[in-house]
């Protein structure tokens, strides 16, 4: 057990790793009533192509299988999992994203029983033809709900324009066809490949006694046998440098057009601290160039080209990265043209003038992170998977220099790597 205290933030992080490889992270929060636990599995919608640890065969799974598996683990032989938590006064939930599946509950009493419940249901799969069939109906409704969401639609159109090979182009829940093709056997294969304690992290937040909790989990895990498989080898086909498509257009029943623009950023081999630092640098840069205090934002707002639906951000993972700008507008052509124009020719003086202030804003947002358990857990796991503890972020932000922003400002907005996704309203 290792305990790290951050004096500035007055926050503590306790870490432990069990013999079976399960990582435990605890933020003890004195005086808080809420208790929060998240079991995060390093398996997301991107992990569809991998070498089966059991027999060395390559597996190509239907799209949306990680999300399906998340739904399916809530099925139990007798009692509803939701009821088991509800009986303890806790409420359970789960979500799947590109790179992880996360099971969580929040409670205000009976934390230890709820925690054992969480671990037990994730570690006890039960997939039958009957319950898999039932879940398909539910997930198809979920997919249809996303299809009516113009932001979601145009976001995935954008990703499919950016990437021709990388699985991030696929919708997290998959398609109606892919979901209908999923079998219990597929689920078991994914389960024994990815749902190993060594491929999971447990994050706990609340007024907790770390030593006691760790002992409790250790005892629980010692009773179980896990096959000594290595973690699975994922296959990500090499992504060409070029974008897949320059433009995707679609029509939907909406009030006004939606424009999404992205710049594909080629990835190199970088260490985790570099990845995170670059993510911050480019986000700072975007805030200076197109944030709500920027000259550009206010000029285009004034011309009625953008409004407060506009936003921009940069996303960076070890295997993909892109700049993302989007907004609703009645002047889609002008918005596309202006955004391009402004980004391709960035004024260095503007960066110099605004750098310190925007950095300060990021220091403030780092402090805020510790206010909200759900947000803290999801951000923590993001950085943890890259090998960085969240306290280190403060120093990473502090270390950012003006020169680094200036250097990226000339490189990252390359028109050749730009794609656009437009949703127009139906006539």
């Amino acid at each position: 057990m290792e305990s790290i205290y951050n004096k500035n933030m007055d926050e503590r992080l306790v870490k432990a790793k069990l013999d079976n490889g399960l990582n435990i992270y605890i933020f003890p929060k004195k005086d808080y009533v809420k208790q929060y636990a998240m079991l995060s599995v390093d398996f997301g919608s991107n992990d569809i192509d991998f070498i089966d640890v059991k027999n060395g065969r390559r597996r190509n799974m239907p799209l949306g299988i990680a999300h399906f598996l998340e739904h399916q683990l809530f099925e139990d032989k007798e009692e509803s999992i939701f009821d088991k938590f509800a009986d303890l006064g806790a409420s359970a939930n789960a979500y799947t994203n590109f790179d992880s599946t996360n099971y969580l509950f929040s409670s205000s009493s009976n934390f230890e029983d709820s925690l054992i419940n969480l671990i037990e249901f994730v570690e006890d799969p039960y997939f039958s033809d009957q319950n898999v069939k039932k879940e398909k109906g539910i997930i198809v409704q979920e997919i249809k709900m996303y299809q009516d969401n113009p932001y979601w639609k145009s976001y995935f159109n954008l990703l499919s324009a950016l990437y021709s090979k990388h699985p991030v182009k696929n919708e997290i829940a998959g398609t109606e066809e892919s979901v209908m093709s999923i079998t219990p056997e597929d689920l078991y294969i994914c389960y024994y490949n990815f749902y190993l304690p060594s491929n999971m992290d447990l994050i706990l937040i609340g007024d907790l006694d770390p030593q006691r909790i760790i002992n409790l989990i250790r005892e629980n895990q010692a009773k179980k046998h896990f096959p000594h498989f290595k973690n699975p080898v994922r296959i990500i086909e090499e992504e060409p440098e070029n974008v897949a498509k320059k433009l995707v257009e679609e029509k939907m029943n909406i009030s006004r057009p939606m424009v999404q623009i992205a710049f594909k950023d080629p990835v190199q081999n970088e260490d985790p601290a570099q990845i995170i630092k670059k993510e911050y640098i480019v986000n700072l840069l975007l805030d200076i160039v197109f944030g709500s205090s920027s000259k550009n934002y206010n000029e285009l707002y004034d011309q009625g080209i953008i409004d407060n639906s506009f936003s921009c951000s940069y996303h960076k993972k070890p295997d993909y990265a892109y700049v993302h700008l989007h907004g609703e507008t009645n002047k889609p052509d002008q918005m596309r043209e202006k955004v391009k124009e402004k980004l391709v020719d960035i004024d260095h003086d503007e960066i110099k003038e605004n750098f310190q202030r925007i950095k300060r804003k990021y220091q403030g947002s780092f402090i805020r992170l510790f206010n909200n358990f759900n947000h803290l857990a999801s951000e923590f796991i993001n950085y943890r998977r890259l090998g960085i503890d969240i306290f280190e972020l403060a120093a990473i932000i502090e270390d950012i220099t003006l020169e680094e922003l200036l250097a990226y400002s000339d490189k990252i907005f390359n028109k050749d790597f730009m794609v656009e996704s437009i949703i127009l309203n139906e006539d």
Binding site: G89, K134, K136, M145, S255, S293, K295, R357, I367, F370
Partner: protein
């Protein structure tokens, strides 16, 4: 640990202060209560904060305001229009990090508060009106906001159900008004209306966090917020009537049909039955352990989402679900049957206890969020029943099975709305 209760400061007008050092941030909120009268006024009330946020005398454009907020370590300032019963509530919020977590000395709270005060009370004017350009631009943006309801099919269905259900009541007015009413507003009218709000509207000031005593003591010297009545609702008519159920259908090109069913509960937060209603809602549709979720989603696989929620100032309960249109009768049938089952007392002790625990769990968790603490207190204040979370929990604890049955019996189905795809 303190009790996390709002104290209404003696001799200070409408200052509700919850002192705690639990959070990393401090929260200031100023509320104005605006009774719903007609669509034009609703649109004016929604437009005013957007125009104010464009610029004040000392911070005369958006860029300057945003720059100042960033200087203040990314403080957040925002305004919202809420609908509580037959009132719009105009809420200005300011949240800033607590100075004690900063490595540099800073006068953050006072500086941020001065900015907020300037935005609300010191607008940029031209010839006795708002700056014309701000007025025109924000009017256009609000128009787009009203129209954009259709982009979110969940809210679109909810609002369409409620406006039809309450078509003869003030509650049927959309919280941002309508496009046609908005078009009729002139800058002069808007400015006059703004002044009327500042002078006459009911108002309240909330503080949640670790504020210096000098800041709290001098707060009214640092703001132009004048004395006035607190934000107690005297406007809402809680309609509760026997009638035939209305059924409305609307066609749009959608992938998923949306079903909304509106009920009258006849119960508001002021009523002793309120706590029973909370438990009833949890049992029938408020959560994943609830009857609707279990019967409609888990057993019959008819929906991804199905839930119920209550409006406790007007006395409504709404059931929402996303389904295949051809299943809508089946879903309505299940909803009716499950309510009928509760009336007959057909629910287990376990279900009953779960429902109570779930409510209590959520209420307790509200103690850990400054915004939830504020939202809870706001609702109790609006309903003229100032109540701490602890007291609400005690009320829920006291509910028994018969109380649930009594609430189920009171429920009256009023309106069904179905949004489905074009034939």
């Amino acid at each position: 640990m303190n009790d996390l209760e709002f104290k209404t400061e003696e001799n200070r007008f409408n200052l509700h202060h919850l002192a705690t050092d639990k959070f990393k941030t401090n929260l200031v909120q100023i509320f104005f209560m605006l009774p719903l009268k007609n669509e034009k006024e609703a649109a004016m009330n929604a437009l005013i904060p957007s125009v104010l946020e464009r610029g004040s005398k000392n911070y005369n454009d958006n860029q300057l305001i945003k720059t100042e907020l960033e200087n203040l370590y990314g403080s957040n300032m925002s305004s919202n229009i809420l609908k509580r019963g037959e009132n719009q509530i105009l809420r200005f919020s300011l949240e800033m990090v607590n100075e004690k977590f900063l490595t540099h000395k800073s006068n953050l709270t006072v500086d941020a508060f001065n900015l907020l005060n300037d935005i609300i009370f010191n607008p940029l004017t031209e010839r006795g009106k708002f700056k014309q350009r701000f007025f025109e631009q924000e009017k256009e943006i609000l128009k787009q906001d009203i129209l954009s309801l259709i982009n979110d099919k969940y809210s679109f269905a909810v609002e369409n159900c409620l406006t039809r259900m309450c078509k003869n009541e003030k509650y049927g007015i959309y919280k941002m008004g309508t496009v046609s009413a908005l078009a009729k507003i002139s800058n002069q009218e808007l400015y006059d209306h703004y002044q009327k709000i500042i002078e006459e509207a009911k108002r309240s000031l909330f503080l949640v966090g670790n504020f210096k005593s000098s800041f709290v003591e001098n707060i009214f010297e640092n703001t132009n917020l004048e004395a006035g009545a607190d934000i107690f609702d005297e406007n809402t008519e809680a309609v509760y009537q026997d009638k035939d159920v209305d059924f409305y259908e609307q066609e749009l090109r959608v992938n998923q049909a949306r079903l909304s069913i509106g009920f009258r509960t006849g119960i508001t937060r002021k009523d002793p039955d309120y706590y029973s209603l909370l438990v009833f809602n949890s049992l029938i549709g408020g959560s994943t352990h609830s009857r609707f979720f279990q019967e409609i989603r888990e057993k019959r696989s008819l929906a991804y989402y199905v839930s119920s929620s209550i409006e406790s100032t007007k006395g409504l309960l709404l059931v929402n679900s996303g389904i295949n249109a051809e299943n809508h009768k089946k879903v309505i049938e299940v909803v009716k049957n499950e309510i009928a089952a509760v009336i007959k007392g057909k629910f287990s002790q376990d279900e009953f206890l779960r429902s109570k625990k779930s409510i209590i769990n959520h209420l307790k968790q509200d103690l850990d969020s400054n915004k939830s603490l504020s939202a809870h207190f706001l609702l109790s204040l609006v309903n003229n029943k100032e109540e701490s979370i602890k007291k609400t929990i005690a009320g829920v604890e006291a509910v028994d099975e018969d109380d649930i049955i009594a609430v189920a019996k009171k429920l009256k189905m009023d309106t069904i709305y179905l949004l489905k795809s074009e034939e």
